[in-house]
């Protein structure tokens, strides 16, 4: 990962988020409050606007900009969670870590903030699968899709979906899906 790839990643991620905004909201309807599409759309619109305006010149500057915009603009639980992820990634980048380790630190920060474990039907499930695959150099689009899909049969233990208990079973977790988009576009940016 580098600054140009990183900016491209955010552009692609933003495109996906805006295109799939309604679907994200739809996923957030049976098990949430129908705002994940709006939340991510608002947050990512600010991220790309900030990139245009502030023109970050290093990967670290970019990660910082992503962090602050997601923290203050998303509005839902996904705000502090993605915000924590990118904040952790920024710190690991400062420390000179490799990309796999940087992503892993992002995951650790999500878990520190949200206390979700594997199988709690959250974005964490996707991050865990992706981090492991990146460590082994095995990340593929299929693997991402499988990790997202795997949240479907689970019962939610964290976040708003946990309020509906058993009724959360049978639906894909919206945050898992948006994390899926994040990693699909990361793969694409890396490939370009």
């Amino acid at each position: 990962m580098n600054i140009d790839m990183g900016i491209r990643w955010m552009e692609l991620f933003n495109e996906k988020i805006q295109n799939e905004k309604d679907y994200l909201t739809q996923l957030d309807t049976p098990i949430g409050d129908s705002d994940h599409g709006n939340n991510m759309s608002r947050g990512m619109a600010h991220v790309v606007k900030a990139i245009e305006e502030q023109k970050p010149e290093t990967l670290n500057e970019l990660l910082k900009l992503i962090t602050t915009n997601l923290l203050s603009k998303v509005g839902g639980a996904s705000g502090p969670l993605y915000g924590s992820a990118f904040m952790g990634m920024m710190k690991a980048e400062t420390a000179g870590e490799e990309w796999a380790k940087i992503l892993k630190t992002g995951l650790e920060n999500i878990q520190m903030r949200g206390k979700a474990e594997q199988g709690d039907k959250t974005m964490v499930d996707v991050w865990i699968a992706v981090v492991e695959a990146v460590e082994n150099g095995e990340l593929t689009h299929e693997l991402i899709d499988e990790a997202v899909e795997a949240t479907k049969p689970l019962k939610a233990k964290k976040g708003r979906a946990s309020y509906v208990g058993d009724r959360s079973i049978g639906h894909i977790d919206p945050g898992a899906y948006s994390s899926g988009l994040l990693f699909h576009t990361m793969l694409r940016a890396e490939a370009e």
């Binding site: 049976p30 949430g32 409050d33 129908s34 705002d35 708003r160 309020y163 509906v164 208990g165 009724r167």
Partner: protein, 124 residues
């Protein structure tokens, strides 16, 4: 099955309106009636606005939530005067009514909703 709705009685107009907005996000199809304050400005609750809210609901069966004790007294009087079934829950007004609404929207029955609310009990 009888249609089940929610009624919330708060001492403050804004709290009632705010809870209504919060709940509607997760329970668009549930009939939620709120009463807040004596009126838009005065803090308090009253019997007749509470009774009116109960009667105003399209549901025959109501789960009731309140913030402070005097709201509960008005709820009790109002439910005695109404021919609807109203059950008052001594749980946190925001968190309890949110949970009940989310579960009602998901099609969960009253018994199972009460199990969930039971865990929140003992705060009032």
């Amino acid at each position: 099955m009888e249609k089940t709705g929610i009624i919330i009685v708060s001492h403050v107009y804004e709290i009632a309106e705010g809870i209504h907005r919060l709940i509607k996000e997760v329970a668009a199809d549930v009939d939620v009636q709120v009463v807040g304050g004596v009126d838009i400005k005065e803090i308090g609750t009253s019997f007749d606005t509470t009774l009116a809210a109960i009667n105003n609901s399209s549901a025959k069966n109501l789960l009731a939530f309140y913030d402070l004790g005097s709201a509960k007294m008005n709820l009790e009087m109002a439910m005695e005067m109404s021919d609807k079934t109203v059950k008052i829950y001594d749980v946190p007004v925001v968190e309890g009514s949110y949970t009940a609404a989310a579960l009602l929207q998901a099609g969960v029955n009253q018994e199972n909703i009460e199990e969930q609310l039971e865990e929140m009990h003992n705060v009032k």
